[in-house]
Symmetry: D3
Subunit: 135 residues, 6 copies
């Protein structure tokens, strides 16, 4: 079994807040990420697929095709968008990196064939990362 | 003369549009950067100061102090903010990287003593950079 | 379950040597890392915590709080220090990256609540890394 | 148990194609990677060894020695070479990153003592990675 | 005046040799870069354009348009190609990084309008860079 | 004229202090960099040479040879050393990045032939850089 990974990039804005809470509790929980007008990030997404490369091709899956799938199903829907306002599949979800990774998994799991989706990593900054493995 | 550089980071959202223009012209000019709800970036700012290090200290300027100045006068006012809505010194300015670098220069030029402000670089993404040298 | 990671940085000096050994054996084992006056590194530490993000917050743990814990319990005690001479919790320990990762684990394991400490990675240079998972 | 990793670099050219196939099928499968005159990459290889560091040394394995092994058995045989034409241990193998990682594993597994080879990662570009763990 | 930079990437193979020389002199001059079957690199190209951003747009030049120009005139002609064999505008040129930067300048100088081409940087690896400013 | 750059790496420890000053003034000036037992860094040095590449070779200077010169004259004398105690050419110099860049310039200026030494950059950390151009 070999693990192959494709990294893609997008730039979005978001605001962390729970509409069921008071302003005070939102500030205590999310700090400056709760700023009402939002803020933004350059995100890196790393999608890892596990599989056994057939002798015929030597590839678990064509990385160009994996890139196309990530772009069509994720990047085109979140890049240069406001994650709270513009993204249908995040409606009603607090757009933390954790929730975003889980939402991306649900979408990509159905689209990837040949190999098995193994991990989604999301880097929100040089120092903050999350990973979801469908567990 | 030695050039010393301090790099700092901030995460903001913005929207590129000229209020004097039609929606159509804004889209033609700014493309997806014109999305009405905005988008965002992790910005790197690199501030370069030129000077002759005195023999006594061997430093053009204390980089810790330069870091403090950048944080107090720039980062604290733009980090986790919406650049069009939350930042007083960008009011009425289209927040392109070019305009931001010029605005940062105007602020820091007055605050830096000992050395001479030489350059401000602003990285909006891994592939897009601007630099302003006060020329 | 989601894995969240926070990366922090510190700069320290150290010397690798085993006081129970002859000078000769120390040089054979540690090479130039055994230089009597020491040398140093910029270290990156990546702390990964695993947990199930509650629907209410969407976060395994506040990454700002994780950053504060790492700074208070690790960075403030090793940054700009000599690891053999200045760090109480490394007294009597040969400060290899392996031993440092294990020592950091023992400290952080007790301080992290909400999620479970999953991994500590320590990068001593761009080409040398270690990881400890408490196994 | 601690995992230690050494990263090394090499620059090679290659061509992806299956000699048993028609030109058409090769182009459909490998796209521009099938260009007859080949193309090339700067590769990063990360070799991870797992082990229990003896109290006496505090090291799973001397990273300098691991570096020497990777250079002697891998880098010296692939660096500044054409992977399809110049490398004996890749003869008859389609030099995809997957197949290269597996071939490197087979070589290094026999050479590494003290610790156990755990993982080989191969980065073909900033956005494309593969990992093989001998499974 | 503001300097704006766009970075793009390509992967190519090449061989350094001067056909007017003996094999011996080629090996003395180019070392392993002279390997007859060639080798390859992931190249980064950074194109810097200088100009005065008009108040109306706040941009020296649309970086998306600059990216398109670099892709159309450079990347599409060198990416996944053999620089000695497949690239018309490098015919008869020894494809050192120096010569490539000069050749790219000659092409882009004619295509960039609005701002003035200021610099072309070419990174052949993490440790080797060249820059040409048309001087 | 083309500018070529070679990057090399070293890891050293140092202490910033001026022996002519009181302890108090040293702490005020250098802060935690004044810690008596020292601290350390992974340094990157970037050496830039300017020249006109002869048509015959297409190279300003062989980057391998430039690398050898930097290693022989700089890296071998500072790597895994204490900059205050172990380095003859820094005797009596406060080892700030500024002073180190100037000292490296004085050494390399005499060793580089064919091209002209143009710049020495020294990165002390990901966020702190200095550059000296012999001015």
């Amino acid at each position: 079994m070999v693990y192959i990974t494709r990294k893609e990039h997008f730039s979005s804005s978001h605001r962390l807040y729970n509409p069921a809470w008071s302003d005070e509790r939102n500030w205590e929980t999310y700090g400056k990420c709760n700023n009402p007008n939002g803020h933004g990030h350059n995100y890196d997404i790393e999608v890892t697929v596990a599989g056994d490369p057939p002798a015929e091709t030597g590839m678990v899956m064509d990385l160009k095709k994996l890139s196309d799938l990530i772009n069509m199903h994720i990047i085109d829907r979140v890049d240069h968008k406001h994650l709270n306002l513009d993204v249908d599949f995040l409606r009603g979800v607090i757009p933390t990196a954790e929730n975003m990774a889980i939402a991306f998994w649900k979408i990509l799991e159905k689209e990837i064939h040949g190999g098995k989706l193994y991990s989604i990593k999301l880097n929100e900054s040089n120092n903050n990362f999350v990973e979801y493995r469908g567990e």
